[in-house]
């Protein structure tokens, strides 16, 4: 039942897309095929779907832990970028290589994301500063930092002056799982994250405390559940996940550092989290769907010459549809009768 509205939202967004195609004078059914079926009709296509879904799911699980506690980490994009900087920087500057390099990078990336998320957490708990605005501002700062590094000190001297770093050594890359594709071992981390996230939220007392903090703050205070702790856990979970996603990009499909570390995964993951109802299992599915949207966006760029940023249009529309469907479903079935009950009691 609680997945009814995400499904409705997906359907409505699909309709919205088809209408756009009609408005643009294209055959909607052909477009539907081009944008949804054909990208995943080959093994390579499926592997691409998984590669894009991995960071989305990973970040969304981390964010969901925070969102359930009413901690609004909007800075996942920046935390991902810092994770990429830390892990990529480590790989580029460490003299030796070997089997320990990749694990070190993973740790570095997670630490980087957590450090970047610690800033809004600190400013919120100590100075009451709104974490939405602080984490968002830090996105821009992180982006500028990476840009500076790539256009400056980290630019590949053999790169024909293109803005990119040296390619990373083989030991710094995730091993490929399926030959012929780009699907790498990084997806295993994602699976672990999903399981851990589900476990923490559903089975542990800490997860319960986070949920209560998000549902009814006065009740959390009455129960003695620390809001400060909830803020720290919420932000750091998201930061670590985003940082790991940053490593995943650098040690995965990118193989080196570019001026942007991701095509907006940090923002898209917010929508993935909502679409998956802030539950790690639901996020698995919504992450796959969002990944499909990205692939569609790329196909649209090639076929229709649309700017890639149009994907944002669909992502935003998707969230709108979800919120609308959510409320309509809940209203007719839950809220209205409950409110009438309230009226009667009071």
């Amino acid at each position: 039942m609680q997945y009814a509205s995400p499904l409705i939202a997906v359907l409505l967004t699909a309709v919205f897309g088809l209408l756009l195609c009609v408005a643009a004078g294209r055959n909607p059914w052909a477009a539907l095929y081009t944008f949804t079926i054909s990208p995943v009709s080959t093994l390579y296509g499926v592997s691409e779907l998984l590669i894009k879904a991995a960071p989305l799911i990973l970040i969304a699980v981390g964010l969901a832990i925070g969102f359930q506690a009413n901690v609004w980490n909007i800075g996942a994009e920046g935390q991902l970028t810092i994770g990429a900087i830390f892990s990529g920087g480590l790989a580029l500057h460490v003299a030796s290589d070997g089997v320990l390099l990749l694990p070190a990078m993973i740790i570095a990336g997670a630490v980087g994301g957590m450090v970047w998320a610690a800033l809004p957490a600190l400013l919120r708990t100590r100075f009451n500063a709104n974490e939405i605005l602080v984490s968002l501002m830090l996105n821009y700062v992180a982006q500028l930092w990476l840009s500076y590094l790539i256009y400056g000190p980290w630019r590949d001297p053999q790169g024909f002056n293109f803005p990119q770093s040296k390619p990373l050594v083989a030991d710094a890359l995730y091993p490929i799982l399926v030959p012929g594709t780009r699907l790498n071992a990084g997806v295993l981390i994602v699976l672990v994250a999903v399981i851990v996230g589900w476990f923490v939220l559903k089975r542990t007392f800490v997860g319960f405390q986070l949920r209560v903090t998000g549902l009814a703050e006065p009740a959390a205070r009455y129960a003695g559940f620390s809001t400060t702790r909830a803020i720290w856990i919420g932000m750091l979970a998201g930061g670590a996940a985003a940082g790991l996603a940053g490593v995943g990009e650098v040690a995965g499909p990118l193989g080196q550092l570019f001026p942007t570390a991701s095509p907006g995964y940090g923002y898209a993951a917010i929508i993935v989290a909502f679409l998956g109802r802030l539950s790690p299992i639901g996020i698995l599915f919504s992450g796959l769907f969002m990944s499909l949207l990205y692939l569609s966006g790329e196909a649209a760029q090639i076929e229709l010459n649309l700017p890639s940023a149009t994907t944002g249009l669909f992502q935003g529309a998707l969230l709108f549809m979800l919120l609308a469907a959510d409320l309509l479903v809940n209203y007719t079935i839950v809220v209205a009768p409950a409110r009438r009950l309230q009226e009667k009691i009071s």
Binding site: F205, A219, Y222, G224, R340, I345
Partner: protein, 529 residues
């Protein structure tokens, strides 16, 4: 235009408002079932009923907030449809809400201006307010921001706002729940003056003594229907009660506390707390002792520091001086709520939904809110089976009507939710139980059950501190009683040595040192470490 400029029809047979066959249903309940109500000009008409009887819904229909499914409304002989509060006001119906609809950050005159349609000249309005407040004995400072006003003054602003609309019918919804006894008398004087000028008054209340004193006709509601119309001055309180609840109110089996077990179980010594809420009340030098095996009552109108005191005692606010609060001689002032709970201090807060329980979580999960030591939680993991057993015990022992341990907290009625929260705290076998407004908004049956369970708990040796606005309730179950006013606590007295009049006086902040029966040890000795 001032109310005095209008001479209203005052012949007794002039009917101002007539409701016929008013019915309003909701999916799970019929709130109003074929209600007839006749309010005559210049009369003070009581609407009597316990919580859940349908009084609120009926008033909302009259004031245009809710529409009836069936039935007619006649205003001064003509049929009308009241679909918005604006329309009600235009007809001449004014309402003073139980939970005030005032805006804290605005001044009194701005609040009044909001109650009047069209442009407002604030200066002229201010003088009108002053004139009205002189005329009816309702002192109000127009330029003062509402957040700095006492509860009584806020109510006066509400009343003046309604009066400025020249109402011909004034609805007062539970007006005295926030007033000290002396202020209640002043209010009655104002209402009688209004009635004499021809304004009809609909007085909603469940306080039988007040209704018998003030009103000349009462309509009694029970379960959505009218169960009686009478002249309350001719009836006894128990007759009225019987019409209200259909049976006798169960009396509390209350033997006086025999042995004090563990003197000084909860000791509060010179507790001073600065409120971090700009609209809150600071606590000054509070000293109080509750022994094991007794119930101490703290009377007071809300807004005098009760919230701040309860928060300091429960641990939601930490005390500056750890030894200012101690449990069996262990200083707990710097411990948080979970640590205090582990030491045996439990708390039933005045807000149920949203604080005592999380509305959307199940009863099982709500148990976990405070009952989260072993065996319910082990090694950081929740133990579903043990939680379920605990919840079922709560439901059974306290007779909670609900859809089982999986039901959402918000699906319970007010009385049943309060019983569940009580059960949860009581079944943890606390050494000290703090209770705030235990039976507020709870139906009479559940209220009696709750009071009895407090007495039973006391007999088992728990130290209980009850904060309540209902003096009757406190006199029924407490062994000793004190008053909290303006952030200070009065000398504590045995219940047998005082009466409602004295307590009423103390609630205005007046008490003399000679009344103090505390021992020097109780009065403020610090607990030596």
């Amino acid at each position: 235009m001032m109310p005095s400029d209008i001479k209203l029809a005052t012949s007794p047979s002039a009917v101002r408002l007539a409701l016929r066959g008013i019915t309003k249903s909701y999916p799970s309940v019929v709130a109003n079932d074929g209600i007839d109500l006749t309010v005559e000009a210049g009369r003070i008409h009581a609407v009597l009923g316990e919580n859940g009887a349908g009084k609120s819904t009926l008033m909302k229909i009259i004031f245009g907030v809710v529409q009836p499914d069936v039935g007619t409304i006649h205003w001064e002989g003509a049929p009308v449809e009241i679909s918005t509060p604006g329309q009600a006001k235009r007809l001449g119906i004014g309402m003073v809400f139980q939970h005030f609809s005032l805006f804290e950050t605005l001044t009194a005159v701005e609040n009044v201006a909001l109650g009047i349609p069209g442009r407002s000249d604030l200066a002229a309005l201010s003088s009108q307010i002053v004139a009205l407040s002189d005329r009816y004995g309702l002192p109000v400072d127009p330029g003062r921001a509402v957040h700095s006003m006492s509860v009584g003054e806020r109510q006066r602003v509400e009343i003046i706002r309604a009066l400025l609309q020249n109402p011909r019918l004034l609805i007062m919804d539970e007006p005295t729940s926030v007033l000290a006894p002396q202020a209640v008398q002043k209010l009655f004087g104002t209402l009688r003056q209004l009635a004499a000028e021809g304004c009809s008054i609909l007085y909603i209340s469940h306080k039988l003594d007040e209704i018998r004193e003030l009103c000349d006709v009462a309509t009694i509601l029970r379960g959505g229907k009218v169960t009686g119309i009478c002249d309350p001055r001719q009836e006894t309180a128990s007759n009225l009660a019987r019409m209200m609840i259909g049976r006798e109110i169960p009396a509390c089996r209350h033997a006086p506390a025999s042995t004090i077990d563990d003197p000084g179980r909860l000791t509060i010594a010179n507790l001073s707390v600065k409120s971090d809420d700009p609209f809150g009340v600071d606590l000054h030098d509070i000293s109080l002792i509750v022994h094991g095996g007794e119930i101490v009552g703290l009377a007071g109108i809300s807004g005098n520091g009760q919230r701040e005191l309860m928060a300091a005692l429960s641990g939601e606010t930490l005390a500056d001086e750890p030894s200012s609060i101690s449990l069996s001689r262990v200083p707990i002032g710097s411990l948080g709520p979970r640590q205090r709970r582990r030491l045996g201090l439990c708390f039933v807060p005045e807000e149920r939904l949203g604080r005592g329980a999380v509305p959307s979580l199940s009863l099982d999960e709500n148990s976990l809110l405070t009952a989260n030591g072993t065996p319910m939680v082990q090694a950081g993991m929740m133990q579903p089976a043990k939680i379920r057993t605990f919840t079922e015990r709560c439901i059974a022992t306290f007779n909670v009507m609900c859809g089982g341990p999986d039901a959402a907290a918000k699906s319970l009625s007010g009385g049943n939710l309060q019983k569940l929260i009580m059960a949860r705290e009581v079944l943890q076998q606390p050494k000290v139980l703090l209770v705030s407004q235990p039976t507020w908004g709870v139906d009479v049956g559940a209220a009696a059950f709750i009071r009895q369970s407090l007495v039973d708990l006391r007999n088992a040796g728990t130290a209980i501190l009850v904060v309540s606005e209902e003096l009757d309730e406190l006199f029924e179950i407490c062994d000793r009683i004190a008053v909290i006013a303006k952030g200070r606590v009065s000398p504590i007295r045995p219940v047998s040595a005082t009466d409602i009049k004295d307590i009423g006086l103390a609630m205005t902040g007046l008490w003399s040192p000679a009344d103090d029966t505390r021992t020097p040890a109780e009065k403020g000795a610090r607990i030596a470490n």
